[in-house]
Amino acid sequence: MSYEGVRVDDASAQVSDVTANVTANVAVNATAGVEPASEFSKRLAVLDVTDFSVDYGVGDATVRAVNEVSFSLERSRVLGVAGESGSGKSTLVYALTRLLRAPGVISGGEAVLHVSREDGRVEALNMTTASEAALRSVRWSHVSIVLQSALNALNPVLRVRHEFDEVLKTHRREMSRAQRRARSAQLMALVGLNEDRLARYPHELSGGQRQRVMIALALALEPELVIMDEPTTALDVVTQREIINELNSLRSQFGFAMIFITHDLSLLVELADEIVVMYAGRIVERATAADLYATPMHPYTLGLLNSFPPLSGERRELTGIPGSPPDLSDLPSGCTFHPRCPYAMARCERETPELVVDERRGRSVACWLHVDHDSPPTPVELSGRRLRATVPVGAREEAQ
């Protein structure tokens, strides 16, 4: 593949300088508390996140937008993050990359990025303790990010060509001008754009074209991890469809790992290997895409699946979720989903269900409906409880 052919030797003076810097900051696999994993999968992991919490503000007015989130992402895999808007998806990934703006503060946990250096070594970079220089050395060359609105993500007064040029100039210093041009054109071709778009300004491109430019840009340095924060939400369904297909083929071509954020769960089912569902800053369910789709265990997951028509395949009846996401500064007690949950029990109001890991089946859920590990995974619809959302909590208790 010609793409591989252009791959440049990264052992430039600049890069090795920074490497020294990174090594100083590395706590090699200091991931105490991560769920047990074999040596093999550790080597394969690209990102390990442990008990990660993020607050907005400090002091009394603090809200916790991400609450003790843990997950691990393996090389070349796609992790889907789903949840209604406001559930903390963006906050999570911005904080992981230390890009979150004030008043965001990382208030606990850690995130370790496993960086493959050019000489084949794998270094663990603890993102929460890394210096600015160390972060700069992994940004874009190892982790890149695509935002929802490409119009805002591209500098309005610069030509598209400039964006490519700048990235290549910064991270691939040995490339000549001609090489950079060739590389930019090649990247544009990858996402199905004509080379002549390089001479355009962002406002001269359509929404889909802009988002493709962003994707091409994100792949420019062949990073191990690409983060996509609702990359298709602003686009029409047809373009959305095209871009998802392109992403799928690009991924099989280059094998980058991906965190794909969306509030549209049905979209993830086609794209992701594993999916985590977030509600009010917590992970409430984690499973492979197939499992999650076939047997959603958390009532919130079920609600999300019923909120969107799938991009393809059988149609479910769209029912949505009653009510609206909670106010982070005034979270409901117990299970934070209980005021909206059709399956809520008295217990749900008092006690917070932990995210319970079911090692054997490789899935986890935080719901009192699924405390019994030994029973097979029961889809929430079939869990034998009738919808009793309108019955007051006290009355429900008595009835049982």
């Binding site: 874009w140 591209l154 007064v157 610069l158 700048e166 355009r200 001269e204």
Partner: protein, 326 residues
């Protein structure tokens, strides 16, 4: 292109308004100042001179207002601004002497002030929240001091007391004007303190404006993306600054008017031989033709400066050049 034509149209209209105001003012003001003036002058100057003065107001030949207006316009088109009452020379020849000094002084000051203010504002905006923020009230104070007052204080401290700078006039009595280094360096030396005064008075405006725009821009996604791309800090700042400077340039039109107004008085303080000094003399002597000539020339110069600022804006913001999305 449409925008350029619009701006050109605006300046044409502005120039026309300025000319018309100039024409109408002496005629519409209560008390008929021209008649009073001519009455005062009768006996002091020759009837020929009075005729010339009447002519410069377009009052030559007992015409109606419209006809007077056209006479006036025709004269203007020939560069004829009338004759100064007190100086006896034609207004245009007097202005030819003083306008270059003013344009030089204000031009240099504006460029220095814009550059310094923009750089400082960029940095202040980028580092907002740091200790540098305590500079802001000081900058505000300097912005609020009248130009002429600051110039007076500067003149006293650095000119009269400390003798760091030569003051009063645009060059020393001991050099002969001409295109040689002795003269030019002398002019630069004499220009330093006036330029510094004008810059000190005007720099805070650019600085605070740029700071606010920088803060707004740093909040934009594309700046965050520049960080995400692992670009060096200098380049990240450039991404924000490149956009933040646009409103500054768009505001040049307002600012140039204010700077010119302030700088005219600085000339006064420093006895600088520009139009500011001339304007004050003209006002004190009720030399109406000269006052009007100066007003016109200043307005036209400011319009020309605005045009330059507009061209810069079109060059820097691609969104003004194309409006089509493909």
């Amino acid at each position: 292109m449409r925008l350029v034509t619009r701006r050109l149209g605006l300046y044409a209209v502005t120039a026309w308004v300025a000319v018309t105001v100039n024409f109408l003012l002496p005629r519409l003001m209560p008390g008929n100042p021209i008649q009073t003036l001519i009455g005062k002058l009768t006996g002091q100057v020759t009837p020929g001179e009075i005729r010339a003065i009447r002519l410069s107001f377009g009052l030559g030949f007992h015409q109606g207002l419209i006809a007077q207006y056209f006479t006036y316009l025709t004269q203007l088109l020939h560069g004829n601004l009338g004759v100064s009452i007190t100086l006896g020379a034609t207004v245009s020849s007097i202005l030819r002497q003083s306008v270059p000094w003013t344009v030089g002084l204000i031009g240099v000051s504006t460029i220095v002030s814009f550059a310094v203010g923009t750089f400082a504002g960029t940095w202040l905006g980028w580092t907002r929240g740091s200790r540098l923020d305590s500079l802001i009230p000081t900058a505000t104070f300097f912005q609020a001091v009248p130009y002429f007052f600051l110039a007076t204080v500067m003149l006293l401290i650095f000119g009269s007391d400390l003798h760091w700078f030569p003051v009063l006039g645009a060059y020393s009595q001991n050099v002969t004007p001409g295109w040689n280094w002795t003269f030019v360096s002398n002019v630069i030396r004499y220009g330093e303190l006036p330029v510094i005064s004008i810059v000190l008075s005007s720099v805070a405006g650019w600085m605070l404006g740029m700071r606010n725009m920088m803060i707004t821009m740093v909040g934009e996604d594309f700046v965050l993306m520049a960080v995400a791309k692992g670009l060096p800090r200098r380049r990240v700042i450039m991404h924000a600054a490149r956009n933040a400077i646009l409103p500054s340039i768009a505001n040049l039109s307002l600012a140039i008017g204010l700077v010119v107004s302030g700088a005219l008085l600085v000339e006064l303080v420093f006895n600088y031989p520009g139009v500011g000094d001339l304007l004050l003399q003209a006002v004190l002597n009720e030399d109406y033709p000269l006052i009007q000539g100066i007003f016109l020339v200043i307005t036209l110069t400011v319009l020309a400066a605005n045009l330059i600022a507009d061209v810069a804006y079109f060059a820097l913001d691609p969104r003004t050049r194309t409006e089509v999305a493909t």
